[in-house]
Symmetry: C2
Subunit: 210 residues, 2 copies
DNA sequence: AATTTTGGAGAGTCATACTATCCAAAGTCA
DNA sequence: TGACTTTGGATAGTATGACTCTCCAAAATT
């Protein structure tokens, strides 16, 4: 297919596709002459991936380029896969380095240290930021959350890592993370509303006085 | 205190503070003369809130303004509080409207319909986006996640809604949500890495073939 | 032959979030 | 008292990111 058809099939304008080509987010089509190149399903899929990362994951163009570069050099070993995923989706811009107190709490949870694991670093940074913002997360609360997210991660690892090729596993894991993080946060909110309604009946006219 | 001290205490430059004043993110100090105004702890606290919303929550200036406006008109009724919080922190820019299929799935979970609840709308939109991105969330998986996030929400509602004044409860809930969402996502990643290491031992040299 | 499309390159646009400059009045300190 | 600094307020400028537009000449289509 030509670029106009790629545009039609993805809903992305031709100038934007050209921009993605320039920026290295989209691999070049097969050149047939100086003014003709042909694109295929891999391009359609790539454009959709890029749009998902940008629209849902709110990744910058630069970060998307890192993701597609990683896709073209998938890790040979399955146990490195999540590391690559988590690196690709790490928050931007980089948060402050964590306090030692936060690092200790992460270790106390039984997670690997920040030197070994990017996810541990992110957790320590998130806990630091919470503390800096004046929010205290009790140890008991943290452990409840840990158990809850462990249950979530079991479905992730079960689903994500079937015996498929590394590049597919990587794309699957990245897309899955980007698309399901918002689902989890929305589920939290739905549950909050349910519990709130349960406790302060939704038609209580006398609420709110102090 | 004068603006220079406010700047020193918050780490935000004077030009930026003036910008926040202009944009209505920061309430004016008490004017003492044409060229003198005095700021107090409420200003320090507000600046810190604004920075948290911007740096951690990645909210736009416009959205931050909505949040501070809401803080100055807190909902009289406690059961409306979460609605205000969720509206203030809704994703930006607005996602596509959800498919009817996604809306049905949300209702099947026992959550209120999208007409009644912003969180339900967000969930339906997140599920729609996942489906559009080619990601299938099994019903069984979704229920596991729902239970997990319900456990999380119990700690939220318990902590968030002590018997404090509406404005404080609102600020507390907003800051808590912004600061703890990243903690949850990081916990998910940590758990993923732990499970992945458990299943594909972290020093297995024969992984990756196929 | 006339028209349309393409690849490629460069410049232009738009929004967001600051930063910088200016000013005159007001305060501070020697 | 008088030089120096700070302030509030207004206006203009900058940096970045993500496109979007314009041009061109060589194909390709009609």
């Amino acid at each position: 297919m030509r670029i106009s058809e790629l545009s039609d099939r993805t809903g992305v304008t031709i100038p934007t596709l050209k921009y993605y080509l320039r920026e290295g987010l989209l691999h070049a089509g097969e050149a047939q002459s100086a003014t003709r190149a042909v694109y295929d399903d891999s391009h359609v899929e790539r454009v959709r991936l890029v749009r998902t990362l940008i629209d849902v994951g709110r990744l910058s163009i630069e970060r998307v380029r890192e993701v597609v570069d990683a896709l073209e050099h998938p890790p040979p070993s399955r146990h490195q896969l999540l590391g690559v995923v988590h690196e690709a989706l790490r928050p931007h811009p980089a948060p402050e380095p964590p306090t030692t107190e936060a690092v200790d709490r992460v270790r106390a949870l039984g997670a690997p240290g920040c030197d070994e694991s990017l996810a541990s670093t992110q957790l320590a940074q998130a806990l630091s930021a919470a503390a800096a913002g004046g929010w205290v997360v009790e140890d008991a609360t943290l452990r409840v959350w840990q158990r809850a997210m462990h249950a979530v991660a079991e479905t992730d690892v079960a689903e994500e890592l079937g015996s498929i090729a590394p590049a597919d596993a990587l794309r699957h894991a990245i897309v899955g993370t980007v698309l399901t993080d918002p689902v989890l946060l929305a589920l939290r909110r739905v549950a909050q509303e349910a519990l709130s309604a349960e406790r302060f009946g939704s038609a209580d006219p006398e609420d709110g006085v102090t």
